[in-house]
């Protein structure tokens, strides 16, 4: 009998765990709508209350939508971190860990469920944005590229969240991660262009992972840029950040899953 996990074993185990993750998500609509309601409320707040005071050149809703989508993905990832942390305290995970299954499959189940939840949430955010006057100027190719990048970003941030969920010793600790993710977009180009920020914050805002993703999305949808960099440069940065976060998280989470000793 082979003692190593084969790729096909990993795929089969992951399929079972993805099914588990989707069922669990479908039975917890509260978490989903909580993670959706706040970004939508923030979008309405920014567009209708603060939007008039923002000078971003053009309609503020056109500026803010990419940031709101990332904010929503951040809240969604927070849900994932809490779900993983909670799951790790359940007896069922001891059963999984004492079964001959691929180490990463339980986390893959959580991550795929997270991406599925986010896909629905993102579609709803985009729907609300269109209702309140968002008018993207993008063709099929731009939309496809934007959706592809969003999917990669959500995958990366979900896997990162699952890793945080494994590291956290409690649901509360995992929940604190949501706060970090919910705060990061404010120090990016999500709500205001970077040049309007104080110097110290500006450096951070221009170089943190969310900014190239937001700039790329805005470039694809609106054809505008607030940093002056070409769209292609932004896109490479965005892809690079997502790939880095994804690989580090995938490796770390598989190891953490086996190593947890409590």
């Amino acid at each position: 009998m082979s003692t190593a996990t084969t790729i096909s074993d990993a795929v089969l185990d992951s399929r079972v765990m993805i099914r588990r993750g989707l069922i669990r998500s479908a039975r917890d609509p509260e978490a989903f709508f909580t993670a959706l309601a706040l970004p939508v409320a923030l979008m309405l707040l920014f567009v209708y209350v603060f939007g008039g005071a923002m000078s971003t050149g053009g309609e503020y809703v056109d500026y803010v939508v990419p940031g709101i989508i990332l904010l929503c993905a951040g809240f969604g990832a927070g849900t994932t971190a809490v779900a993983v942390a909670d799951d790790m305290t359940n007896g069922i995970v001891d059963r999984f860990r004492s079964m001959p299954i691929a180490a990463g499959s339980v986390i893959v189940g959580h991550v795929v469920a997270s991406v599925a939840r986010n896909a629905i949430a993102t579609a709803l955010v985009i729907g609300v944005a269109l209702l309140i006057g968002w008018r993207p100027d993008a063709g099929v190719a731009e939309w496809a590229a934007a959706i592809g990048l969003l999917a990669l970003f959500v995958l990366a941030i979900s896997w990162l969240a699952a890793t945080v969920g494994l590291l956290a010793r409690s649901k509360d600790a995992a929940n604190a991660f949501t706060m970090v993710l919910a705060f990061l977009p404010y120090v990016s180009t999500a709500f205001v262009p970077a040049h309007t920020l104080p110097t110290a914050l500006r450096g951070f805002a221009e170089h943190q992972p969310m900014t190239p993703v937001i700039e790329t999305l805005r470039g694809l949808w609106m054809g505008t840029s607030t940093t002056g960099q070409p769209l292609a440069d932004q896109a490479w940065w965005a892809l690079g950040w997502c790939a880095l976060i994804l690989v580090v998280s995938a490796v770390a989470s598989a190891r953490l899953f086996r190593r947890r000793t409590t």
Binding site: T3, V16, R24, N90, D94, R95, R97, S98, T261
Partner: protein
Amino acid sequence: MAYTVEVADLTKSYGATEVLRGVDLTIPAGTVHGMLGANGAGKTTLVRILATLIGYDGGTARVAGHDVARDARAVRGAVSLTGQYAAVDEVLTTRENLTMVARLRRLSGAASAARTDELISRFDLGAIADRRATTYSGGQRRRLDLAMSMVVPPTLLFLDEPTTGLDPRSRDQVWATVRELADTGVTVLLTTQYLEEADQLADRISVLDGGRIVAEGTPEELKTQVAGEVVRLTYGDTAAYEAALATLRTPEVTADRVLLTVDVPTDGSPESLRRLLDSLAVAGASPRRVGMHAPSLDDVFLTLTNPKQEALR
């Protein structure tokens, strides 16, 4: 193979706290082994090491012929864990839980469904098969837990405190289920803090105290190890009591001056009892009452594990 579990000189510490201090344990295939100990004795740590959930510091541990540290995956293929906190997915239903385990063990879709139905009827889960596990009683949850462990019958089944927190009726149900499983030839490592449970279910018992096995044997052997059966003579007056003590001048006799009782070791045979009572009658030391007193596992446990000693160490 002769032994399903072979553990030698196993040690495990958490920081400065030594949880296991050199545990030796062998469990012959097809037997139920009871691991008896108070809270914090190291029972669950031992189970978690053998189930490959945590590592250990020293010694050796083999399960079903596989080294726990070096060949964890082979061990995982041979064991099923039924945890102290039932190892079921609470959000899923019985049917979903069982199918999930069946699919993870590579049963086909049709075989998974068939096995699920079979286990639902065998473990009496029909009434709750399509309800989420959060709504189950403790007993229902443990039965689902056991059913999930039996989707593919393991070589070694861990039952970590299987009846903790259950009402007596659910406990009896779980006991009956465990006996049925044992009859099918599954080797069981049962941890419990209930002496009655070990007495009821286990072929052999190890008493774990402070990270060491302090006694091991069949329930009967353990009982005789502490003290044999005694005849308890109860007296109504001091004179007869003193006369009895004068007649029964052997070191095995224990007496209580306040209660006026004398315990005399016995093999339980009518002849020995008759001889004893005759000799007492001749000496004018006939007791007011005669009773037989057999030691319980509680006596064994309390004699072998002394919490005060533990605190001083």
